[in-house]
Point group: C2
Chain length 424, copies 2
């Protein structure tokens, strides 16, 4: 549907249709809030085209957030009474029976946050671009940031590189991205409870891991790029701090960039791939395997190494089925990225391996950062990346859902005898 | 010790010492049976140097095989009586109390297999290089192949590329590599029992996974490289089959190559990285995370996806602690390779990412294949690769051992209450 609208000649500035493949790619990228683009959003599309894109982003983002929040509640309902109570407590402002109310709540909160972001951004965009364009830009970028879509209108694939040392824009956009990446259950809980110790384990994990990733990401990017003349090297100290901060926030699904991605050092690009793979929080617009998934796996492996039977965090045990689910999601995600990277390295033989690996991870985690190879992909490559974005959007989530369902059915099968094998 | 001998001027043909760093690197590579080289083995070293190297390989290979087999038995002893019986049954020709007998057995079998390989290779090498050199070459390559060391004497970093369509050499070397990569417990069991159904689960898994990896690897390499004029493209059909076969065997720790590694397509190199990561069988000279480890993880993840409580193979359940151990080994291995790749991409900025990733995996899995960057590494890079080879050699094994020990100590800690988190 979105693809059809974008194919109309009135969507493109030059009055010609972009063709089905590019329209399909852009629509998929918008609905999946990925942000990879084959044509430059700012210069190619008319106001009509841009409106279609931002609506697709808003629908995709909201739909996904609502669904994710709803299923988070549903997961809570499925399980034991004790756990259900914890879940409901976390979400006590929702009446479980009222999906409508939930949706309304998500809608209001989303528009409130996006509106606030847009007003703040307008302070910068209106003086620069005039009233009409300035307000349009403010709304577009606030929505794009909160939905973690990463589409921008600045033009010529520059994303936010012009504003690398602008405090207001950096702080507002980072704030929107982080909030969008926390997920509603977490936002609601933080707004309703004062004390950290009273949060649910989920919220505690999300907040802690987010903080750790932001601080570590900031430091790593700052150190690796400090003297790179193409990125942080020639900036003022303020610019360096802001640039490193922004680059530690954006891989966790946003897809904006204030530093030129293709000029980053090899080590930073590789590090960014890892951050993108981890992604944001469950129940948000973020992609990737999700920070709780990665966190549970790290806790589990370290508990194995310490020889503990249970995986613990904040004085709570993490149930076995959650650990299994994390492992399945991570395993499948890795297989998918490896497969896509392999296929792309056959279809795009002229590209650099790191660029392909980056592109595949970016598409899977619906991040939308690119070292610049997206527009030059072959037809097959574009289809593969579209499918990857889609799989990355619905995939891990569906797997988690399917696994949660299965776990309901008790099985009364014969148990085979155990037998050991030698591993490692 | 080996490094000191190799530093002596009489070890190098030009009469000058190679310097401590290169001698240290070569000695580490030999003892760890890795096969990465900074100077060309065939042309640089004198007969004295080559003898030192092959002795280091034999000692490293034998020592590791004996230790690995011994600890495999020890693992068998630690656990329940039932499992111990299965283990002992598998190894019934050993008397558990007699480590000396075990060592003797390993020694005799090793020399018998290597001797047979050397005799077969001599049919090709003696006519080509004359009696003295030919016999030397046959022994060197037979030992190097069975120990999965991958050192060669052909010269100019060509490894076995000259013999890409030679049936005898391909079959003998592949046979030695595969046998060396199966591990003694498996070889002994196959020799002593007629029926597949009576093998232990470990042997069944090792044989099946090996077969699957060989067939899949053969087909993938054949398809990807069929028309690559630098590799299989210009060979006869026989050469294509043999070349693909050899390249599917060698990443599983041998490190010889009959195709020019740096000319392989990007997809094949990436595929080779995955094969190298998986490696060979536990209790052999092979490196990598081991095929049983990878196999257990794949079975476990697929059982999670199917919603089964237990991980089963061949009508046996795989115990939880084995699964945990596999997960820990794979997790740690990935972290290590990521870390090394990251460090190398800082210290070697002029290299291609794929080459660095390949080199790091090759060192970790003690494979010794290289796309040719080893000799041009910086000093820091060489030290890092040496340490990686060492960690890859003793690391996963030590981890598995440490975990097996811990599992002995029962813990009587307080159990925290469970709490669910949302993952995926
Ligand atoms: K995005
Ligand atoms: K090797």
């Amino acid at each position: 549907m979105g693809a059809i609208l974008l194919m109309l000649p009135i969507a493109s500035k030059d009055g010609h249709s972009v063709g089905i493949l590019n329209a399909f790619f852009t629509a998929t990228s918008a609905v999946c809030v990925t942000g990879l683009v084959v044509v430059d959003t700012g210069t190619h599309w008319t106001v009509f085209g841009k409106t279609v894109i931002i609506l697709l982003i808003q629908i995709g983002g909201l739909g996904f957030m609502t669904m994710a929040t709803f299923f988070a509640l549903l997961f809570g309902k499925r399980i034991t009474l004790r756990e259900r109570l914890i879940m409901q407590e976390a979400l006590n402002q929702f009446n479980i029976s009222g999906i409508v109310r939930l949706t309304k709540y998500v809608l209001i909160a989303t528009f409130a946050i996006e509106g606030m972001g847009a007003i703040l951004l307008a302070f910068r965009f209106v003086p620069r671009y005039g009233w009409a364009t300035g307000i349009g830009f403010s709304i577009f970028h606030a929505v794009s940031a909160f939905c973690n879509a990463g589409f921008d209108l600045i033009g010529n694939f520059r994303s936010l590189t012009l504003f690398v040392d602008d405090i207001l824009i950096n702080v507002v956009i980072c704030g929107l991205i982080i909030m969008g990446g926390l997920g509603f259950t977490v936002i609601v809980e933080v707004m309703n409870k004062r004390k950290f110790s009273r949060y649910t384990l989920h919220t505690k994990l999300v907040l802690c891991i987010t903080a750790v990733l932001l601080v570590v990401g900031f430091l790593v990017v700052l150190v690796l790029e400090f003297n790179n003349p193409d990125t942080l090297g020639n900036l003022t100290f303020k610019g360096k701090i802001l640039g490193a901060m922004f680059h530690s926030v954006t891989p966790r699904t946003a897809g904006f960039n204030s530093l030129p991605t293709d000029k980053l050092s090899m080590a930073t690009i590789f590090f960014t791939i890892i951050l993108m793979f981890i992604g944001g929080s469950s129940g948000s617009t973020a992609g990737g395997v999700k920070i709780t998934t990665a966190g549970v796996m790290v806790l589990h492996i370290s508990s194995i190494i310490k020889g503990k039977d249970d995986t613990e965090a904040f004085g709570r045990r993490i149930p076995r089925d959650i650990i299994s689910r994390s492992l399945a999601v991570i395993g499948i995600a890795m297989c998918l990225i490896i497969l896509v990277t392999m296929i792309l390295s056959i279809t795009e033989p002229s590209q650099d391996f790191l660029s392909i690996f980056f592109e595949a991870t970016s598409a899977f985690a619906t991040v939308g950062l690119s070292v610049g190879i997206t527009p030059t992909l072959s037809g097959v490559g574009k289809v593969i990346i579209s499918l990857t974005m889609f799989a990355g959007r619905v995939g891990p989530f569906t797997i988690a859902l399917a696994l949660a369902k299965q776990q309901q059915k008790k099985k009364g099968l014969v148990k085979y005898p155990q037998e050991r094998v030698i591993v490692g």
